[in-house]
């Protein structure tokens, strides 16, 4: 009799175990299209009574591959953010054949100036040269404006990134604490671990991270610079966004756990992720480009300034065709932050605002002492010749442009365009590589931890057969018991 009842209880345990495995398989199938889902594995083993018993469900997690994915995600998202910002800056350069750029505007203005030089008495040509100068000034203004917009956007991006990171760390804390606290049933625990990995993936897009899993399954997060972001509790990031960012003004750095993690003076700088990319744009790339624009503007203002023409000069040099907020004082040899956003055509020269375009030929915008054309002849060429010469002369530029220190104005402008495109080209190839790496590591992780529907279907078929067999055993035992009762009666 004990044989039959043992068979009965074994068959029953088989049914139970199969049902349990089916639950896992069905969960695998249901969530096959969730890229954050880690496949679960349910196995059985022999129970003490010889029946089947369900082992605890295992997750097919792979920390090495996850770490690789986190790292490549930081690289990839950082590089793509960097590329977006640089592309915005490079739009001010445009295609080399289009004439919207600063370099083209300088060239066109130079040609118009030469036309006036060839025919100084022609005031139509002079007006055209003034129009060319206005185009040039506004090209510098708008390039400077774009650069500052990119900087402000980067600053706002840093604020948003910091908020996202802090939010994710708070989510992470809840999940991590519940996992480490062992208060969850195995199913919820697996789900919580999936969610925790998903949070890590999101976090890695914002900032490069390294994780360490402790024996109680809790996870500590460090930045790739080594600063603690989370260990049992989050170390929140602090950052104060700038309301306005003017050229030459630097934005605030980001602190984590009291340590500065962005900027050149950071002891443990973060290396990858959106946050770092934004900081790099705000603190390095955009300011360098702004410096280049400012130096072009400064060279223009200086080259077109007027000198006292009196027999015994007593007046200081004064700005001529191009003026700026410091006019009439001529800027010195040092970089003037934001000059490119201020440069404009002196209205005394501009026929559209009641000025006299012939001042370009005659000089004297700052009073009679500055007048070059003392004979008052229409074909006066002296001033125009020296202006044309100044445009072609090499000048010294600040090292903060990261361009050769000695150049012509036009040479600086083309070098600047080259610098922008070189930076973009470099960022583009890095972004492409990082993206490819990220795709590969993601595929590797998903292959190791994701769900293959065919495998699950095959498992399902096995389970179905095994369930049918156990059920058959039950009915057979039932039959046997029925037969036995028949005999007794």
């Amino acid at each position: 009799m004990s044989g039959i009842s043992l068979a009965l209880s074994n068959a029953l345990s088989g049914l139970m175990a199969t049902t349990g495995q089916t639950v896992v398989t069905s969960r695998n199938i249901t969530r096959a299209n969730d890229e954050n889902y880690t496949r679960e594995i349910s196995t059985t083993s022999t129970s003490a009574s010889g029946g089947a018993s369900l082992d605890p469900t295992q997750r097919a997690a792979d920390k090495k591959l996850l770490d690789a994915l986190l790292q490549s995600t930081s690289m990839s998202s950082g590089q793509s953010t960097l590329l977006d910002s640089i592309t915005a800056i490079s739009n001010t350069v445009g295609d080399v054949q289009d004439d919207g750029s600063v370099a083209w505007s300088i060239d066109q203005f130079q040609q118009k100036l030469q036309a006036v030089e060839a025919d100084p008495g022609n005031s139509t040509l002079a007006s055209q040269a003034i129009a060319g100068a206005k185009t040039l000034a506004s090209a510098l203004n708008s390039a400077s404006q774009v650069t500052q917009a990119v900087r402000s956007d980067a600053d706002a991006g840093m604020a948003k990134s910091v908020a996202t990171i802090n939010d994710l760390l708070a989510q992470f804390q809840k999940l991590d604490n519940s996992i480490a606290g062992n208060s969850l049933d195995p199913d919820s625990r697996a789900a919580a671990m999936d969610s925790r990995d998903a949070v890590l993936k999101k976090l890695s897009a914002e900032i490069g991270i390294q994780t360490v899993t402790r024996s109680d399954n809790s996870t500590a997060i460090y930045t790739d610079g080594g600063v603690t972001l989370f260990d049992k509790s989050p170390r929140l990031l602090t950052f104060s966004a700038s309301t306005t960012l003017t050229p030459g003004m630097s934005g605030a750095p980001v602190y984590a756990d009291g340590v500065q993690i962005t900027g050149s003076s950071s002891p443990m700088p973060s290396k990858t992720g959106n946050l770092v990319a934004y900081a790099q744009v705000r603190d390095q790339i955009a300011p360098t480009y702004q410096n280049q624009l400012d130096e072009i503007a400064r060279a223009l203002v200086t080259s077109f300034s007027e000198k006292d023409q009196s027999a015994s000069p007593s007046q200081p040099d004064a700005t001529g065709l191009f003026s700026y907020s410091g006019s009439p004082a001529v800027p010195g040899a040092a970089l003037v932050p934001g000059l490119a956003s201020q440069i404009k055509v002196n209205s005394a020269f501009d026929p559209a605002s009641g000025g006299n375009a012939n001042l370009l030929r005659d000089g004297g915008a700052n009073g009679a002492a500055y007048k070059y054309n003392t004979l008052n002849v229409a074909g006066f060429q002296g001033r125009l010749q020296s202006l044309a010469q100044a445009m072609g002369q090499t000048q010294s530029f600040s090292a903060s442009t990261q361009l050769p220190a000695s150049n012509t104005i036009l040479g600086l402008a083309t070098a600047s365009a080259g610098w922008v495109e070189a930076t973009r080209s470099d960022a583009d190839s890095k972004a492409t590589n990082a993206d490819a790496t990220q795709t590969r590591t993601k595929a590797a992780l998903m292959s190791a931890t994701g769900v293959n529907l065919d495998t699950e279907m095959a498992t399902m078929l096995n389970l179905e057969k095994s369930y049918q067999a156990s059920a058959k055993v039950l009915t057979t035992i039932n039959q046997m018991l029925g037969d036995l009762f028949q005999v007794i009666r």
Binding site: R39, G121, V377, G379, A417, T439, K442, M446, N452
Partner: protein, 346 residues
Amino acid sequence: MVINGISTLATTLLAQDSMSSTQKKLNDAVTEQSTLRHADVGLTLGGNVSRNLNWRLTLSQTTNFSEANAQALARADALQTSLDATKTTASDFLTSLAGARNAVNGQALTKQSSGLAIDAVATSVNVTYDGQYLLGGQNTDVAPLNSYQGGTAQTSFDTAFQSFFGFSKTDPAAVNITAAQMNLFLQGPYENLFQSSSWSANFSNATSNNLQSRIDNNQQVDLSANANETPIKDLMRGMVAVQETGSGQLNSAAFQAVIDYSMGKISGAIQGLGATQARVGEAQQTVTQTNAKLSSMKTIVEDEIQRTEGVDPAEVATRVNNLTSQLEANYTVTGKLAKLSLLNYI
């Protein structure tokens, strides 16, 4: 480790990824096929953008200089024509002087022909081109030569004559002027009337510095002449002397002294004008050579731009074909993979 096939989701994502990257490449290739330049020239060139930008700006400047130089040459041609006309007037006048030297009515003849010559020279020297006076130096908007008759130039002559001889030029006493006296007057006070300050005050509005023409970024040439140059002064000296001295009342010795002086000045002026024409001609030659240089540079730069920014039409056509086939293959394989599921067999 449980061996698991590649995840179903990964297969789909990878296929999507590969398709979208192929599509992007195809898109770029199609753009390149229509423009025959790289899809994103700035990205392809990278730091070489500054080099190509320089080439393009050089190209634009070269074109601009070619046009400006053509204009400058046309202006120089107009100047040459005007100098030719002045020279012709001068040599005609010279011929008439030679004929009148010994003629009975020589003084009347030369008085008339010199008056005409003065007007003709004023007309040819005061020639304009495109609204500019060609011989005005840098004073391009004022006629270089003032009208002699009734102007301050004539007054200055009258004063000089009066103070030298003690009577006015119309006085019959002029008949007593000897050849020696006449020569003394012509080479002294008369000559001085045409010296720089008196010349600029009475005869000419031109400046002595010419308009320079910039023919490329680093080169300027002088394609002009101005009315203050010696030949024009000599011409006026020769013509005014005959026109004004003695007013037809000179004795023949004094008259011949005037004619001799005048012929000397005018033949000098003809040579001088020839020299000016040669100087301008040489400058024109320089401009023509520069234009040839600019045009060959333009060809070189255009080739370089094409080489670095352009794409090979044959290569890009092949690339479009390859990418299209690749994309089609992608679609087919993805379609087949999607159908390939155990679900379809149970």
